[in-house]
Amino acid sequence: MSALIEVSGVSKRFEARPTIGERIAAKLGSAIESRTVFAVDGVDLKITKGEVLGLVGESGCGKSTLGRIIAGILPPTEGQASLDGAPVMGVGRRPVKTTTRVQMVFQDPFGSLDPRMRVGESISEGPIAHGLVTRAAAATYIAAWLTRVGLPAQASERYPHQFSGGQRQRIAIARALAMQPDVLVCDEPVASLDVSIQAQIINLFLALRRDLGLTMLFISHDLGVVRHICDRVAIMYLGRIVETGGAAEIFAAPRHPYTRALLDSVPKLVLADDSLVTFRPIEGELPSPLNPPPGCHFHLRCAHADQRCRSEIPRLAVVADGGHVACHHPLTP
């Protein structure tokens, strides 16, 4: 199957503009340190139609930035993301999104819904503006999407603050779906929800996927959630993708030492009678994205690192079961 979403050579750098003090200091000849954050660094990624791809990594690894680039709401510094071969964003000084076929659901349903807009207005604003529905037919349209995400049609008349966190996330999902997207980019959509509510929203995603055949990029730091709903997984570390592959394969036999360490760090429900801490933590911390280490970004924390890892950037290479790993010394399953 061909790729619906294709990300090629995408990098995103954020540069802090020097302050007045720093500009004066620079004029006087003192060197100011570079403040460029390498959020995303040369990422290639494909998502096929109907697939749910999990994008996993710790905070600061660039997963949300990559998600926003794919959703067409953040222009990349280099490379491009395209949908069916057409770029999701235009180019130029002020690039704008060129498609409505990719929509986004954000982590915090308290911040992503306009508190002064009725739920119905939030849901219908986009579809009306883009001519997907007429103003006259909007009420029926809103009701259909609210029902689809498990809310009563009357919710349309109320304001976001009248809903709980789980219900608000349903509203945010309805708002994204009302644009009739082919691709949904979900950035930590269940991270801020309680366990019992989280299960309800996960089930909603599973149902939407079955019924609407949605293609999804599911960004999360929660490996349990990702394993449950994703077909394929991409692991990010400090701006780069270090491993991709089928969810079952990666969780059973990760090839990258970072993936292995990440899986080992997750606390498991201890069902044995002695409750001992069973994980082996990764040493050290995430290096600063302001000043990433040369070579493999993970080498400072990796038990397998050698001279080559310190100087040469490992490229993503195909492994036996169809996955890809960027490591000079991949683990054997």
Binding site: E58, S59, S164, G166, Q167, D194, V195, S196, I197, Q198, A199, Q200, I202, N203, L206, A207, H221, D222, L223, G224, V225, R227, H228, I229, A247, A248, A261, L262, D264, S265, V266, P267, K268, L269, V270, L271, A272, D273, D274, S275, L276, V277, T278, F279, R280, P281, I282, E285, L286
Partner: protein
């Protein structure tokens, strides 16, 4: 067993709001023994954090402790004066909060904050205070501690800041530390480091911990005994491994079934229907009844917490061992 270090009896903490009295904690009783790690789990609004704050008398208006007792080594803390509480807080019981970036003072170096925490409870020379601080920071795994004393909180990463907060909590070698979601804001790799270190520290120093969390897996890796709260009340208690393998309360079972790690990938999760009830408007009987598949007429009267050996459950129709199907997590 010996006399418990901490005895909480019928603790009730209410908040007076414009909409009425909110019963955040409503009749909670439990013991913590010296050196023991007790897990306190529940979802948001279950009252787990307010229970922790109430133990240290840290409930501010409009909240107030309206009843019950909290005894540390037999000495009552509820209603004790400010001076008496100050002598206990930070010295015999201390607390680690969820977000170290808001609990550390941003304008004082961590060395100063540690010196103040020591000076509040004993007279120490600056040199002695400094060496105690360096020792505490080293113990929580902060490299080059002597130099880091002059650094400010913003110069530390999130994980390191939480280590500083833990070091401050352990400075006066307390008998009990109340840990309120101390690893929730951290990445999994850093969380794993802190959990491992915290467990070792508690064991080596004989400090008891109350580990408050919404994450069953984290609690199961820390605590030998678990307390489950729902809508301001304890609904289940017992040895962690046994409670998680054979939960007796339908809510505990529902929570375990909701975890994606416990299910077959791609299959619908067994979800608990509905949402947590408003604490302003609790059902007259069992608070969980509206969401419970086992509920019947009996559940209109509030169930008592019934003890059976080390276990206790507050339910008219406890799930029995054979029916509880918790798949073993991988």
């Amino acid at each position: 067993m010996s006399t418990p270090l901490l005895q909480v009896r019928d603790l009730a903490t209410h908040f007076d709001t414009a909409a009425g009295v909110l019963k955040a904690v409503d009749g909670v009783s439990f013991d913590v023994h010296a050196g023991e790690i007790v897990g306190l789990v529940g979802e948001s609004g279950s009252g787990k954090s307010v229970t922790g704050f109430s133990i240290l008398g840290l409930v501010d208006a409009p909240g107030r402790i309206v009843g019950g007792s909290v005894k540390l080594d037999g000495v009552e803390l509820v209603g004790a004066g400010n001076a008496a509480l100050r002598a206990v807080r930070g010295r015999r019981i201390s607390m680690v909060f969820q977000d170290p970036s808001t609990t550390l003072n941003p304008v004082l170096s961590i060395g100063t904050q540690m010196r103040l925490a020591l000076a509040a409870h004993e007279r120490l020379s600056d040199v002695a205070a400094r060496s105690r601080a360096v020792e505490a920071l080293t113990r929580v795994g902060i490299p080059d501690a002597a130099r880091r004393l002059d650094a400010y909180p913003h110069q530390f990463s999130g994980g390191m800041r939480q280590r500083v907060a833990i070091a401050i909590a352990m400075l006066n070698r307390p008998q009990l530390i109340v840990c309120d979601e101390p690893t929730t804001a951290l990445d999994v790799s850093i969380q794993a480091q802190i959990l491992t270190e915290m467990k070792a520290l508690a064991r080596d120093s004989g400090t008891a911990l109350i580990w408050i969390s919404h994450d069953l897996a984290t609690v199961s890796s820390m605590a030998a005994r678990i307390l489950v709260m729902y809508a301001g009340r304890l609904i289940e208690e017992g040895p962690t491994a046994i409670v998680l393998r054979r939960p007796r309360h339908p809510y505990t079972l529902g929570l375990l079934n909701s975890l994606p790690g416990n299910a077959v990938p791609g299959r619908d999760l067994v979800q608990i229907p509905g949402t947590t009830p408003s604490l302003l408007d609790l059902p007259a009987g069992c608070a969980f009844a509206p969401r419970c598949t086992h509920a019947d007429g009996m559940c209109a009267t509030p169930p008592d917490l019934v003890r059976d050996g080390p276990r206790a459950v507050r339910c008219h129709h406890p799930v029995n061992a054979e029916r509880a199907e918790v798949e073993t997590a991988s």
